[in-house]
Amino acid sequence: MDKESLAQVFARAKSENRAALIGYMPAGFPTLEGSKELIRALIAGGVDIVEVGFAYSDPVMDGAIIQEAAEIALRNKTGAKEVLEVVSGVSVPSLVMSYWNPIERYGVKEFTEALASVGGVGVITPDLTIEESGDWIDETERNDLRRVYVVAPSTDDSRLAKVADKCSGFVYAASLMGVTGARNSLSDSASELVARLRKVTNLPIAVGLGVSTANQAASVAKFADGVIVGSAFIKLVLQAPDISQACREVTSLARELSDGVRQGRVG
């Protein structure tokens, strides 16, 4: 059976009156093989779309948990080759999440071609602005890759329209002002941002940053098309005694979150 496209996944979730669940895991964490197992564990628990993280030495949008995972991946010498290898084995639509410099260093043309050739569907670029995206837009178009930019509650309406216009696949809405990492409570800023985005784009909107529990996933699923979870999974891996235990816990959390994105719109 052919892998579903990103659009098909969002359409199916919509037809099921739920949000899609998007799980993040860095390639090469805690080992190259371990990251592949963890991604299978995410999918086993019901994750619809996978973000494969490309670890970077200076991750300014990431909190302590993802920083630690990135450091481990970098100690394991994880580079573009390993990221592409991990993407190639993912059975659901997968995007790479990468800061800009590793992509530029690999070569924009070379990276987009290589990612497309291993079946990746797109790239999330947290520190690439649309003003610096000339070659990026050309090459992602040429290789039929989705471009996902990350917008924030501080992004004003006119800027939202400009950025969303350059997005394809979906728009990543940061739920709050800050870096990645679990939060005890989510503010109203996410629903306000999504409402403003709806006025300027028809693309699906996925909300990330701070979501770690089924309740939070359910509340975000009320207004968003996708719920993105990263740090909560990684924290489990960091605390687990071994990879098989880590996989079990990751699957279990993914199941809870998967229930969460289905409960949000009930009643």
Binding site: Y56, S57, D58, P59, V60, M61, G63, A64, Q67, E71, L74, G79, A80, W100, N101, P102, I103, E104, R105, Y106, P126, D127, L128, T129, I130, E131, E132, G134, I137, D138, Y149, V150, V151, A152, P153, S154, T155, D156, R159, K162, V163, A174, M177, G178, V179
Partner: protein, 396 residues
């Protein structure tokens, strides 16, 4: 394909590579800087602080005994070390602190390596009644404990950064994370001509006063322009400040001296232009020290202030178009010049600045007597006494 207009670029360098969350704040800062630079009241306030607080204009000292080691070229030192807080850093800090107030923000954050920019930021915050938080790599807080105490005495909060290499680059990462979180109330008072637009342009503009004064002073002293202007380059703020007003003077060579550490060939250095490659770090495209995967490589220098794997984008551009030249000075060459200036002129320079002085020894010997060299004496060496004593084996 529609192209969006590129702002804040120097050829292919510069620009903005930041989370979208910061774009509004960068636009606000750019607008505040643009309006302030045309506002006579703002300029009057800044100029008043320069005169009555910093001690500007800084003087020029001719280093005649030091010149004997530099091919008898005339060596003119622009004495930024005599500024309040001991370096050129105060020029930028006062400008940005005034802009912070203009934007109605009450909190500043800053990164610091050696502690000079942190001390200058804490000073300006105390003067203007702003809350100040300084991020400093844990390694650096140990190496520069005196400056940590100075910042605390000035009322600032110092947060040791324990992530990554625990040095300046990680302090910048942590400051950016704070800014992303608190951007509505907080100004990030970046200490050098790097980072996303408008920082490279704005910080340069606040330091241009060095070159504007010096150009006039050299003309008055010697009746002509210097043959070369020299400055040390870490991020490159003191260098761009003294270079910029000379850029249109085609006969004046602009020479930046980078930290060669144990030698560029050893891989243990911070000579970003001499030994690095173009890439993106901390929001800007410029030269940087990176591996084949685009991961930042840790820099090495005896000078904490030059120990940074990036460099300002305008320097990258000036290098590529051939308007400025960049050389690497090793730790040993810098410490030789440090000692020489101390013993021949009674001026203990910052170790950062000693790299520029080592460059003056080279260039003076190349050009010989009759040449005039203007050197930015960007900081004083009080903060480096411990490092220097250790280097020269002086028991403390």
């Amino acid at each position: 394909m529609e192209r969006i207009e590129l702002v804040g670029h120097f050829g292919p360098y510069g620009g903005r590579f930041v989370p979208e969350a910061l774009i509004g704040a960068l636009d606000e800062l750019e607008a505040a800087h643009n309006s302030a630079s045309k506002d006579p009241e703002f300029q009057r306030e800044l100029s008043h602080l320069h005169k009555s607080y910093t001690g500007r204009p800084s003087i020029i000292t001719e280093a005649k005994r030091f010149a004997e080691h530099a091919g008898n070229a005339r060596i003119l030192l622009k004495r930024e070390d005599l500024n309040h807080t001991g370096s050129h850093k105060i020029n930028n800090v006062l400008g940005q602190a005034l802009l912070t107030k203009r934007m109605g923000k009450k909190r500043i954050i800053a990164e610091t390596g050696a502690g000079q920019h942190g001390v200058a930021s804490a000073t300006a915050a105390a003067l203007l009644g702003l809350e100040c938080v300084v991020y400093m790599g844990e390694e650096d807080t140990k190496r520069q404990s005196l400056n940590v105490a100075r910042m605390k005495l000035l009322g600032a909060t110092v947060i040791p950064v324990t992530t990554g290499s625990k040095t300046l680059k990680d302090a910048i990462n942590e400051a950016m994370r704070d800014w992303v979180t608190n951007v509505s109330t907080t100004h990030y008072l970046l200490g050098t001509v790097a980072g996303p637009h408008p920082f490279p342009t704005m910080v340069r503009d606040f330091h241009r006063i060095i070159g504007i004064e010096a150009r006039q002073q050299v003309l008055e002293m010697t009746g002509r322009l210097p043959d070369a202007v020299l400055a040390c380059v870490g991020g490159g703020s003191n260098a761009i400040g003294i270079f910029h007003p000379f850029i249109d003077d085609a006969g004046v060579r602009l020479i930046g001296l980078e930290a060669g550490g144990a030698g560029v060939e050893s891989g243990k250095h911070a000579a970003t232009i001499v030994g690095g490659t173009p890439g993106v770090l901390h929001g800007t495209r410029s030269y940087l020290l990176q591996d084949s995967d685009g991961q930042t490589i840790e820099s090495h220098s005896i000078s904490a202030g030059l120990d940074y794997p990036g460099v300002g984008p305008e320097h990258a551009y000036l290098h590529d178009i051939g308007r400025a030249e960049y050389r690497a000075i090793t730790d040993d060459q810098a410490m030789h010049a440090f000692s020489l200036l101390s013993k021949s002129e009674g001026i203990i320079p910052a170790i950062e600045t000693a790299h520029a002085l080592a460059g003056a020894l080279q260039v003076g010997n190349e050009l010989g007597s009759g040449a005039i060299l203007l050197i930015n004496l960007s900081g004083r060496g009080d903060k480096d006494v411990q490092t220097a004593a250790q280097y020269f084996g002086i028991p403390l």
